[in-house]
Each structure stands twice: as C-alpha cells, then as structure tokens.
C-alpha cells in the first residue's frame, strides 16, 4: 500500500478506472466525504436534540453560577462555572506536581532494588512491582480512602500528634510547613538569587578545573553556595525557613500544611501505583545498557553510587524518557479518578455541573480540552528533552 508500482511507459494512459493515481485520490475523497458527512450528521443530531430538550447549544453555561461547594475554598458556590473549573484545574495540578516527582523517585529506587545483588532487597522490589501493577489503580484509591483513610484514622478529638510535629486525623493530615507569616516575596527573590549564584559558582569551578586540573566538584560547591545564600535569605525574610508545626484548635487543624484526606490518599495511591510502572521502565532501561559499561565502571574502580550516577543512569535516562513521559500522562489522566473519593478537581467539577441542567456535551468538550492541555504540554516537554538528549550524544 505504501510504494507505487513502477510506472509502465506505454503509449496511452490506462483508462481512468484502472489508473492508480486517479483511484488513490478518488478513494481518499470518497472516505473523506463519508467521514465529514457522518460528523456533520452527528453535529446536526446534537443540536436538534439539545434544542428539543430545551438545553442551550452554546457555551453560555460557563458564565452561570456554579452552585456547589469545593472543600477548602470559601464561597465557591457563588463562583461562575469558569472560575470553578479554574479552581478544579489547580486541584488537578496539585496532584500532578506532587505525583510526578514522587513516582519518579520511588520508581527509580524500586527499579534499582529489583536489580540488587541482595536477595532480600530484590524480593522486596519484585513483590512491590507485582503487587501494585496487577491491581487496578482505582482499587488502590478505594483501599487507601475507604479502608485506611476513613476506617482507621483517629478522630480529631483523639489528638494524635506524632513527634508534636504532625497531626493525623480523619479531618486531614497536617505536616510542618514554612512559616506563613514571613515575607514570601523577599524569600522567593533570595531563592532566585541563590540559583544564580550556584550556577555561577559551578561555572567558575569548571573554569578552575580546565585551568589547573584540580577536581571541579561543581555540584558540591554550587550546593554550598546555594545553601549559604538561602540561609541569608532565611534571616532577611523573617525566619522564612523555620517550620511551623500544625496544631489542633478545636475541630480544625491550624498552622503547618493541611492535606485533606481525599487528596492525601488519592495522591499516595497514584504515586504507589505509577511507581510500580516506573520501576519496570527503569529496570528495563538499566538492563538495556550494555554490560560492558558496568564492567568498565568497575575496571576504573568506581563505587556503586558513582557507577550509577555517572555511567549507567545517564545512559539509561535516554532510553527511559519516552515511556516515562507516557507514565506521566497516565498519572495525569488517572488523577481524574479523584471523582470517586470526592476530591474536587476538573472531572468532579464536571460531575457537579452536569446535574444542573447544563449541557453535558459542551461540558465534556471543556473537560476534554483541559485534559488535552495537560497531555499536550507534557508531551511537548518530553519531546523537547528527548530531542536535546539525542542531539547531544549523536
């Protein structure tokens, strides 16, 4: 179907009905007409059906009052639907921003554990992967939320505060967080400054290395410089880095950072489940690196850490990126399962408006567009990194 037959040099053209060039285009146009006709017909049906059931056919519903509560946000019932979707979007982002780094780190550790020489570590890795990836993620969310979350967590009146730094209750899980009273703006500026200083120091050490040949240790020096500037920022911005422990005040958790139960268990379940897939990707990528690379690292007496850090992982990383990006897309899409545990992100927002005589078709269009925005941006970033890595090496 792909390549054409070699053209026969005959005196006259073949008749139209046997001319490949004509048939190709005629066939394509015929199929295209059918597809466009079908889409047009479906669109016509939607418009007719919406009109006959008295539903609007446009996107005016986005300006209407949302009329439902979003936990943790005051006055959300008076939001417009657009603003509610915005709040839901932020909630989805909260899951992704924590979920993607966490599942990557955990997945890398489990993946390496599966390759360990130590039988106990290896067995642990294997059990983890086989347990988590063969059971649906929704079931893990249910187990987390309904069994561990609602079933076993102490009530807030029980005042379970381990180390006096955490609050564990069925109203939410409080962890120590940065002092909210400090001037955040000043501190963020110092963080930016610290990054710049770290980059400069690292570049300077690289120059020293090139000139004198002494080890650059760019990472070490940069980290020290970064921390030094950060500490200055800490004092300049009014103890910005000091942690504020959560305390129980009546029936609420004050101070620190409070995660509500659905969020905590949804994110935990997504991370644990996705990490099992990431672990398999990491393992496959490491195993795909030629054995000679590890042996060469051994031959120049690198430690286990150095072997992974400088020889194996950089190469494995290149193999990992496309499937890893796929897992990031999956965790993003799976965040929609929050709808099962009443964590209000975009899918749950849709679930709430669709009951309010809002046209489901248009609502779904908005919902899908929002998810596509996530998917396309993650794909774009992954493609960019993939290209960069491929270019630098070949």
């Amino acid at each position: 179907m792909s390549a054409q037959m070699p053209a026969l040099r005959s005196e006259e053209n073949p008749p139209l009905y046997r001319d490949v060039r004509f048939l190709r285009w005629a066939g394509q146009i015929a199929v295209l007409v059918v597809v466009i006709g079908a889409v047009y017909w479906l669109y016509g049906n939607v418009v007719t059906n919406l009109r006959s059931s008295g539903l609007p056919t446009g996107f005016d519903f986005l300006d209407r009052r949302f009329g439902a509560a979003i936990p943790g946000i005051e006055d959300s019932a008076n939001f417009s639907v657009t603003r509610a979707f915005g709040a839901g979007y932020l909630n989805t982002v909260r899951v992704i921003l924590v979920g993607i780094p966490a599942c990557t780190i955990l997945g890398i550790f489990i993946g390496i554990a599966r390759l360990s020489q130590n039988a106990a570590v290896r067995t642990f890795g294997m059990l983890y992967v086989e347990l988590f990836r063969n059971i649906p993620v929704l079931l893990w969310i249910f187990i987390g939320y309904f069994v561990l979350g609602l079933g076993n967590l102490p009530g807030i009146v029980d005042e379970v505060t381990p180390l006096n730094a955490f609050v564990v209750s069925n109203r939410g899980i409080g962890i120590p967080w940065f002092n909210p009273s400090s001037s955040v703006g000043t501190f963020v500026a110092f963080v930016g400054l610290a990054m710049v200083v770290a980059v400069l120091v690292s570049a300077y050490r690289g120059r020293v290395n090139a000139k004198t040949g002494e080890p650059a240790r760019g990472g070490l020096y940069a980290t020290i410089a970064f921390l030094a500037v950060l500490v200055i920022g800490h004092f300049a911005a009014g103890n910005a880095l000091s942690l504020d422990a959560p305390v129980i005040q009546g029936r609420l958790i004050a101070g620190g950072l409070t995660m509500d139960i659905p969020y905590a268990f949804l994110t935990a379940a997504l991370v644990l489940y996705t990490a099992s897939h990431v672990a398999e990707i990491v393992r496959g990528a490491i195993q795909s690196i030629h054995k000679g690379q590890g042996e060469a690292a051994n031959a120049i007496a690198l430690s286990t850490f150095q072997r992974y850090r400088f020889v194996i992982l950089p190469q494995a990383f290149r193999v990992m990126i496309p499937p890893l990006a796929n897992q990031y897309l999956n965790i993003t899409k799976n965040s929609s399962l929050a709808v099962a545990v009443s964590y209000v992100e975009i899918t749950a927002i849709f679930g709430r408006i669709v009951n309010n005589a809002t046209p489901a078709v248009q609502g779904l269009v908005v919902l899908m567009a929002l998810y596509l925005s996530f998917s396309l941006s993650i794909s774009a970033v992954a493609n960019f990194i993939n290209r960069r890595l491929a270019l630098e090496t070949r």
């Binding site: 295209l32 020489q117 897309l329």
Partner: protein, 432 residues
C-alpha cells in the same frame, strides 16, 4: 548477623564487584552460599538485608494473620470469619445482583466458558502445528504459567459451599485438551481456518452467556460484567485499531490527519471522561426518536473507541518493525498493495504486536473498574451492594471485600502477563 564481616578496605577484585546493569546472575548452590554470597557479604549488605528482611517478614506475618486468623466479633457477641463477606455473597461477586432477573441458567455461563476454552485449545494446537521447529516447552515453564491461575482458582473455590463449582472448574481443561488434539488431527485446510472457527466459538459463547438475548447484558454485574466489557471491547476495537494504524502509516494525505487526530485526541483524555460521555452525552448524538442502548452497551462502545486508539499505536509500532524489503519483495512479484498489506505486512506486524496487545488487554481489564464511577455494578461496584447488606453493614468488612476483589484482579492480570511473557519468547520477539 554479620558473620562474614571483612575489613572494608580490603582491595576488591573485579569478581567481587556486582555487575549492576545485568540481571542478578549469582549462582546459588546452597543456603550457606546465599547467606555468605549476598545477604551478609559485607556490613552494607547486612544492614540492607536486616531492613528489607524485617519488612518482608512483617508483611508475611500480617498477611498470614489477615488471611487465616481473621475473626470478627459482631455486636451480639457471635464470632465469625472475616471472609464470610466473601463466602456468603460469592455468586454476587461473580455475576452481580440482578443476574437472576434474566433467568439465564448458570449452565449457560459454564457452557460459554467451555466454548472459549475449546477455542483456546484449537488455537494453541493449530499454533503448535504451524510452527514446526518450535522448541519443546519445558515442564517448568508450563507449570510457571499454570500455577498462578490454578492456585487462584483454588483459593476462590475454597469459598464455595458445594463441590459442584470445583468440578465444573476442573472440567474447563477438558474442552481445551479436546480442541488441541482436534487441531493436530484435523486436515490442514480446516486448521488454517482456526481463527474463523475460534471467532465463531467466541460469538457462541457471548450468545450463551447472554441467553441468546444480547440485551440481557444490561442485567450483568460483578466479575461477569467486568470480563464481558473488557473482552467485548478488546475484540471490537481490534479491527478499528488496525485500520487506524494502517491509515496513519499510509501515504494518503487526506485520510492520515483523521487517524492522527482521532488517536491523539483519545489518548489525550482520561477514560472516565469518555465513560461520562457515554453516560451523559452519547444520547444526544443519536437521531431524534432513536432507541438509545442501555448503560452497559454504551460503556462497551466507549471502551471500544478508547481502546482502539491504543491498539492503533501498538499496531503502528508493529508495522514500523516490518523491514521495507518485505514490501519491496511483494512488489517485485507483482502483488497489489492490498495483498502486500494483507498477506505480508500485517501478519508480521501483528505477530510482533501480540505481547503489547496482551498488555493493552490487561490494562483495559483494570480500567473497567471505572464503571463503578458511572454507577454500574462491576466487580468493584458490587462491593457497595454487598457492604450495604444488613449482614455486613457497618461491621468493618471493607478490608476483606477489597482484598478479595484485588485478589481476583491480581490473579487474572498476573497470569495473563506471565502467559504473554511466555508467548514473547515463543514468538521470538526482539530476538530476530
């Protein structure tokens, strides 16, 4: 613990260094070797062993207690096993709450299973006959594939009240063996049409379990619903996926964008939005006054459309792995493009894709749990009905219920992925 502690500074030869990127290749001859060789080789390993060994032992201890010493005390003081929540409503887990309303006898369901078993037997026998130089299957591999599903089935059957289900389950092997033997004895002309015969058997199986009235599917629930939705969607999405993949790989400038847009659009959104679409929006797409199918057929349609995009990408990968020389060879002998695709490219591409297709089937099976969100009573959904039952409500039977459902999924998915790994070696994917 650290009997073999050695000075860390001892110069280590290369043979002492673990070769990380390789699979663990220690040749373990005895428990003594195991202990000295890797568990307690040096202080670092000893600590690792202690930490992870403790985790493992604790997990095994907890699991043992949960499975075998699980007793619940009711408010009136009666003690009963926590697994009563599985034993009593076992049939509900399997077929849901409304299945009896259809009046389909259970014998039809078993007949449906046997038909599928016969189809599998025929396919396996025909496959063995076509691949003449296939190496003999070692007993260990066969056991490795058979053991998980057999043990899983045994665990589930231990919950039954009578012996009948056990006997009927064991009998599943009979049609399989018959089918395999038939495939080795029938004339080659028939064997070459195994796919057709198996397809007919699967269709017969579907008709049997729906009692020859497909609309009965609306009364399905439990594992029956989960498997029906996943299986039907996989079967239906396959041709769509192949057509999409071929279109995406083709040089039809007018049609390729359609395939690309469809695939990327579907892969960019979560399944739950598509299921919502089936639940809330699909009725608007039907012409006014047309009969809209029930919730479950709509869910099957959406799962099919969803899965087709993923299958298309898998098949596209398979198509890309077929060397261009194959197409050129076909052109050299004067085959038409259609024949080249059908007889040369697709068979090779599909063979390469089989493991990934099995993976997609597993993933779709797991995804069918989302049906609970649109209010259907799949195997996860029936737990709500069971836990709301007066016999179990508010007595903290949730862990056992979810553990059982998780066990069901685990056994099915684990067995399938093991079998697919085996298939992968058998087909020699990635070794040619």
């Amino acid at each position: 613990m650290t009997q073999t502690t050695e000075p860390v500074s001892r110069p280590t030869g290369p043979e002492d260094q673990p070769v990380a990127p390789d699979a663990p290749s220690l040749d373990i001859h005895s428990a003594r070797d195991l202990l000295r060789g890797n568990l307690f080789k040096d202080p670092k390993n000893s600590i690792l062993t202690l930490v992870f060994g403790t985790i493992l032992v604790y997990a095994v201890y907890k699991t043992f207690g949960f499975v075998f010493l699980n007793e619940k005390v009711a408010q009136d003081g009666t003690v009963r096993s926590g697994w009563e929540v599985v034993r009593q409503p076992l049939v509900t887990y399997m077929v849901g709450t409304r299945f009896s309303a259809t009046g389909i006898p259970f014998s039809y369901l078993w007949a449906g299973i046997y038909a599928v078993s016969l189809a599998l037997g025929l396919t396996a026998g025909a496959g063995a006959r076509k691949v003449r130089d296939a190496p003999a299957v070692p007993l260990r591999t066969t056991l490795g594939i058979l053991l998980p599903p057999v043990l899983g089935a045994a665990a589930i059957l231990s919950m039954t009240q009578t012996i009948t289900p056990t006997l009927l389950t064991i009998a599943i092997a009979v049609p399989f063996v018959i089918g395999r033997e038939l495939a080795t004895r029938l004339p080659m002309g028939v064997v070459q049409r195994t796919a057709l015969i198996s397809g007919a058997l699967v269709l017969l199986s579907f008709l049997l379990i729906t009692g020859f009235e497909p609309s009965n599917v609306n009364q399905f629930g439990g594992l029956l619903l989960t498997v029906t939705v996943a299986f039907t969607a996989i079967v239906l999405c396959f041709p769509i996926g192949v057509v999409l993949a071929l279109t995406r790989r083709s040089n039809f400038p007018l049609l390729r964008p359609i395939a690309v847009i469809y695939i990327e659009l579907i892969r960019g959104v979560p399944l739950i939005t598509l299921l919502f679409m089936g639940e809330f929006a699909i009725r608007f797409f039907f012409p006014p006054g047309a009969a809209v199918p029930g919730s479950i057929p709509r869910a099957i349609i959406m799962c099919t459309l969803f899965s087709a995009a993923y299958v298309a990408e898998i098949v596209r990968g398979g198509l890309q792995s077929v060397p261009t020389g194959q197409v050129e060879a076909g052109q050299a002998v004067g085959l038409s493009p259609l024949t080249i695709t059908r007889k040369i490219v697709l068979p090779q591409a599909l063979r390469t894709s089989i493991p990934a297709l099995v993976g997609q089937s597993i993933s779709l099976l797991k995804d069918t749990t989302l049906l609970v969100i649109i209010g259907l009573f799949d195997v996860l959904g029936v737990t709500r009905a069971i836990l709301a039952n007066t016999a179990f409500v508010n007595q903290n039977f949730t862990p056992e219920t979810y553990a059982f459902v998780g066990f069901l999924f685990w056994i099915i998915c684990f067995s399938m992925s093991r079998a697919s790994q085996r298939l992968e070696t058998r087909l020699g994917v990635g070794t040619r």
